[in-house]
C-alpha cells in the first residue's frame, strides 16, 4: 500500500465512525461474538467470564450483556487479583460490578501467598505474571466453572493466532497446541471430560483497532488510564514504567512526569505506558492507525522474555 493510501485509511477511520455502513464489519464481529456467548450459555452448566478490568474484557462483558438481555447475566465475572493491579483497574471493576449488579468471584494472589498455596516471592516487586496461573486454575476449580470466557484476541500474538474459539484445557489447565479440535463453520463442540474446562474467546477475530472503534461507537466505559493523563514514570529497558509502591527505579533511573496512556492494562510491574495526548477513543484510534509498534511489543515486559514466551505460558494454563 502506498503512503497516500495509508493516509486515506487514517482519515477514513476518523471521520466515518457514525456512519453505519462504515461499521458493518463491527456489526459482523459483534454478531459473531454474541453467537458464541449464547452457545456457551446454552450448552455449559457453569460458565464464568474472566474480567481483568482491561479494555478487551470490558468489551466482552458489554457483549455478554447484549447477548442475554433483557435477562440479567446468568453467570459470575471472575477476577484474578494479582495484588499488582493498577488501582484504577480495581476501581473500574468495582464500579462495573455495582452498575450491572454482577456476581464477582475474586481469586487473590496475595491470599494464595499468605496461605502457602504458592511460594512467597523473593521481593514485593517480583513479577506475579506466572504466579497468577495456579491461582486462576484454583479459582476455576473451586468455582466448578466448566467454561470461562476470556477476552484474548488472535491478533495479539502469534501463538494466540493459532488458538481455537473453544479451547479445551485438561485437568491441569494445560493447552495442547498440537492437538486442537477441528473447529468448523459456527458449530462449536462444547463436550468436555471430567476435570476439564473450556476457555472460550468470543473476541478471537477482533483487532486492537476493532476494539477501539467499538468502544467509541458503543460508549463503553474503561479505566481512565487508557486515556492520556499526567503520570510519574521512569524508563526501564526502553519502556516507560509507572512509579508505584511495587515499581521503583532499580538503577537510579530519573522519575519524570509525562502525558501517557496505557495500551494494555496488566500488572504494574509488567505493563508499560506510551507517551500520548489521546484523551478520547477517537484520538486513540487515530494514534493506533499510525503507530508501527504492536500492542504487546510496546507495553508488555512479560512477552519480551523469549521467542515463545506466550506459547509457554498458555500451555501452563495462562489466560
Amino acid at each position: 500500500m502506498t503512503t497516500t493510501e495509508l493516509e486515506r485509511l487514517d482519515v477514513q477511520g476518523l471521520v466515518d465512525l457514525d456512519d453505519s455502513s462504515e461499521s458493518w464489519h463491527l456489526r459482523a464481529l459483534e454478531a459473531e461474538a454474541i453467537h458464541i456467548i449464547r452457545e456457551v450459555v446454552a450448552e455449559f452448566d457453569r460458565p464464568g467470564l474472566l474480567f481483568s478490568g482491561g479494555k478487551d474484557s470490558a468489551v466482552l462483558l458489554h457483549l455478554a450483556v447484549k447477548a442475554l438481555r433483557p435477562a440479567n447475566l446468568p453467570f459470575p465475572v471472575v477476577h484474578i487479583d494479582t495484588g499488582h493491579n493498577f488501582p484504577e483497574a480495581i476501581a473500574f471493576r468495582d464500579r462495573v460490578v455495582e452498575r450491572l449488579g454482577l456476581d464477582l468471584v475474586v481469586g487473590s494472589v496475595d491470599e494464595a501467598i499468605a496461605s502457602g498455596f504458592i511460594p512467597t516471592p523473593p521481593s514485593p516487586s517480583y513479577s506475579r505474571n506466572r504466579m497468577q496461573t495456579p491461582v486462576l486454575l484454583e479459582t476455576i476449580r473451586r468455582g466448578k466453572f466448566t467454561a470461562v470466557f476470556g477476552g484474548a484476541r488472535r491478533d495479539e500474538e502469534r501463538s494466540r493466532a493459532k488458538e481455537r474459539v473453544y479451547s479445551v484445557r485438561d485437568e491441569f489447565g494445560q493447552w495442547d497446541p498440537r492437538n486442537q479440535r477441528p473447529e468448523l463453520w459456527d458449530l462449536y463442540n462444547g463436550s468436555i471430560g471430567f476435570g476439564q474446562h473450556m476457555r472460550v474467546f468470543p473476541l478471537s477475530n477482533w483487532t486492537e483497532l476493532d476494539i477501539w472503534r467499538y468502544i467509541a461507537e458503543e460508549n463503553i466505559d474503561l479505566p481512565e488510564i487508557y486515556y492520556a493523563h499526567q503520570r510519574e514514570v521512569f524508563e526501564q529497558d526502553g519502556m516507560l514504567m509507572a512509579l508505584s509502591p511495587v515499581m521503583q527505579p532499580q538503577r537510579g533511573e530519573p522519575v519524570v512526569v509525562r502525558s501517557v496512556r496505557f495500551r494494555t492494562v496488566g500488572d504494574m510491574t509488567s505493563t508499560a505506558a506510551v507517551e500520548s495526548d489521546a484523551a478520547t477513543p477517537e484520538a486513540v484510534i487515530a494514534e493506533t492507525l499510525t503507530t508501527r509498534i504492536s500492542e504487546r511489543g510496546a507495553t508488555r515486559a512479560d512477552d519480551r522474555t523469549a521467542e515463545a514466551a506466550m506459547e509457554d505460558r498458555k500451555r501452563e494454563g495462562y489466560f
Binding site: M1, T2, E5, L6, L9, Q12, E22, W24, H25, R27, A28, L29, E30, A31, E32, I34, H35, R38, E39, V41, A42, K66, A67, L68, R69, P70, A71, N72, R154, D155, E157, R158, S159, R160, A161, K162, P177, R178, Q180, R181, P182, E183, L184, W185, D186, L187, N189, S191, I192, G193, S204, T207, L209, I293, S294, G297, A298, E307, A308, E311
Partner: protein
C-alpha cells in the same frame, strides 16, 4: 467497511507465507517490532534471509520444523474492507486443519509455483475448497521473477488449471501472475508484466462481493437460547435468541417453527443496537412471537412456506478428522447440526473420494484421517436440513465421538457440488 473471510492454502515452498507477510506489511497489519523479531529469529533459525513464514508459523514446533501445522488467523484492512485470513497448512497430513480454516471462508487463494505448474497439492486445495462451497478462487501463479516474467509460462499454468475449474463448476476463478517476494501484482501492479491486464491481488480481493445472496434464500433462524428474565417487569417475556442464517426476518411475518411445525407471527425483533423491523444474516437477534408456544433450543424459525426438509435419514459428504479411529458403517456418533444435537449412525459408506483423481471408490470399508467420502446417516430425531450446496448453515454438521469428546468429522448434507466418477476398470 465490510468484512471478507478468505483462506489460503499452500506450503512455505509456494511462497504463501511470503505473500501473507507482504499483504500484512503493506497494509500495515504487521508492526515494526514484530518484523524486527522475525528478522532476528530468521538469522537464528535459517540463515541469511528474512523468513516471513516465521510471522505466521506461531507455534514452536512449526518454527523448528519449518512447516505450517495448524491454521493461523491473520487480519488486515483496506479503507473499505476488513479481511480475516485463515492461513492453512498445505500438506495432506494436515487436511483437517485446512478444512477448519476454509469452512468459514468466502474466497480461497491457491498458490502455484510457476516453475512447478499445477501439482497434486494445488489440485487438492481447489477440490476441498470447492467441496466446502467456496466458489471464488484466486489462483496466485507465483515466483514469476524466476521465469523472467514470461507470459508463456503463466499461460501454461493457467491453461492446465482451467479444466479442473470447469470440472469443479467454479463460477469465479481469477488467475494472477505475481512475485510475492518482489511485490509484483500483490498490492501494486507489476511493471515487469505489462501483458497482464487484470488487478493486482489486493485490489481484486477488495472487489469481490461479500456475503452475496443470503437474503434471497428462505428464512432460517436456529434458536440458540430462550431468554427469560426473572424480573417482575418482564413477567411474561420469552425471547428467542439466535443468529439469522439466511433470508430476511420481519416483524409481522408469519413463521413456522421446525420441527414442531407450529406457526406464529413475529411481534418484535431486538438487534444488538436496538429494536428493528427486520434482520438478516449474520445478525444475532432476540425475537418474540404472538402465540404462547413452547419453543426450545434446537428448533428453527422458518418461513411458513419453503421450509427445510425434515429428515431422519440423509446422504452427506464427510471429511474424517480423527487419527485414532476410522469411520465405518455401524459407527455411532453425536451429531451437532445448527443448535440441535442427536445421535447418528452411519448406515452406509457409499463412496471414498479420491481428491486427486476425482473418482469415487464404491467398495471402501472405512474412512481414515483426512479422507473424504459419501455416507448415509440415520439420526435419532428428525433434523430440519437443507442441502449444503444451497445453505451452508443448515446443510453442515459435525460428528462428535462420545467416548473422547473429539470432533471427528465435518459433514455436508447432500451430494457434492460436482460429480466424482467411478474409476475405470
Amino acid at each position: 467497511m465490510d468484512l471478507l473471510r478468505i483462506a489460503t492454502a499452500g506450503s512455505v515452498d509456494d511462497g504463501k507465507s511470503t505473500l501473507i507477510g507482504r499483504l500484512l506489511y503493506d497494509s500495515k497489519a504487521l508492526d515494526d517490532d514484530v518484523l524486527l523479531a522475525v528478522e532476528d529469529a530468521s538469522r537464528r533459525h535459517h540463515g541469511d534471509y528474512v523468513n516471513l513464514a516465521l510471522v505466521t508459523d506461531g507455534l514452536r514446533a512449526e518454527r523448528e520444523q519449518g512447516v505450517t501445522i495448524d491454521v493461523a488467523y491473520r487480519y488486515f484492512s483496506t479503507p473499505n474492507r476488513k479481511f480475516i485470513l485463515a492461513d492453512t497448512p498445505g500438506h495432506v497430513q494436515y487436511t483437517r486443519n485446512m478444512v477448519t480454516g476454509a469452512s468459514t471462508a468466502e474466497a480461497v487463494l491457491i498458490m502455484i509455483d510457476v516453475r512447478n505448474g499445477v501439482v497434486e497439492q494445488s489440485r487438492r486445495h481447489a477440490v476441498i475448497a470447492s467441496l466446502l462451497g467456496i466458489d471464488r478462487m484466486v489462483v496466485c501463479v507465483n515466483k514469476m521473477d524466476l521465469v523472467g516474467y514470461d507470459e508463456g509460462a503463466y499461460e501454461a499454468v493457467r491453461s492446465s488449471f482451467i479444466p479442473l475449474m470447469r470440472r469443479l463448476d467454479v463460477d469465479d476463478a481469477t488467475f494472477i501472475p505475481m512475485s510475492a517476494l518482489n511485490g509484483d501484482n500483490v498490492v501494486e501492479p507489476s511493471a515487469n508484466m505489462p501483458w497482464y491486464k487484470g488487478d493486482p491481488l489486493l485490489a481484486h480481493l477488495e472487489s469481490l462481493p461479500a456475503r452475496e445472496g443470503l437474503d434471497s434464500l428462505p428464512l432460517r433462524m436456529p434458536v440458540q437460547y430462550v431468554v427469560r428474565p426473572h424480573r417482575e417487569e418482564y413477567h411474561d417475556y420469552r425471547g428467542y435468541a439466535g443468529s439469522v442464517a439466511s433470508g430476511v426476518l420481519r416483524v409481522g411475518q408469519r413463521v413456522r417453527i421446525m420441527p414442531s411445525g407450529a406457526e406464529s407471527v413475529i411481534t418484535a425483533i431486538e438487534a444488538p443496537w436496538g429494536a428493528v423491523d427486520e434482520a438478516r444474516s449474520p445478525d444475532a437477534v432476540t425475537v418474540q412471537i404472538a402465540d404462547d408456544i413452547d419453543v426450545t433450543r434446537g428448533e428453527m424459525l422458518c418461513e411458513a412456506d419453503g421450509g427445510p426438509s425434515m429428515a431422519q435419514e440423509f446422504d452427506a459428504v464427510v471429511c474424517w478428522m480423527d487419527e485414532r479411529t476410522a469411520l465405518r458403517p455401524g459407527s455411532v456418533y453425536r451429531i451437532k447440526h445448527t443448535t440441535r444435537s442427536a445421535k447418528a449412525v452411519v448406515t452406509d459408506l457409499v463412496s471414498l473420494f479420491s481428491i486427486t483423481s476425482l473418482t469415487g471408490e464404491p467398495d471402501a470399508d472405512m474412512l481414515s484421517l483426512n479422507e473424504i467420502g459419501q455416507v448415509k446417516l440415520r439420526v435419532s430425531a428428525p433434523l430440519a436440513i437443507d442441502d449444503y450446496t444451497s445453505n451452508r448453515v443448515t446443510g453442515s454438521f459435525i460428528l462428535i465421538d462420545e467416548g473422547t469428546n473429539s470432533t471427528v468429522a465435518a459433514g455436508m448434507i447432500g451430494e457434492p457440488g460436482f460429480a466424482f466418477s467411478v474409476p475405470a476398470g
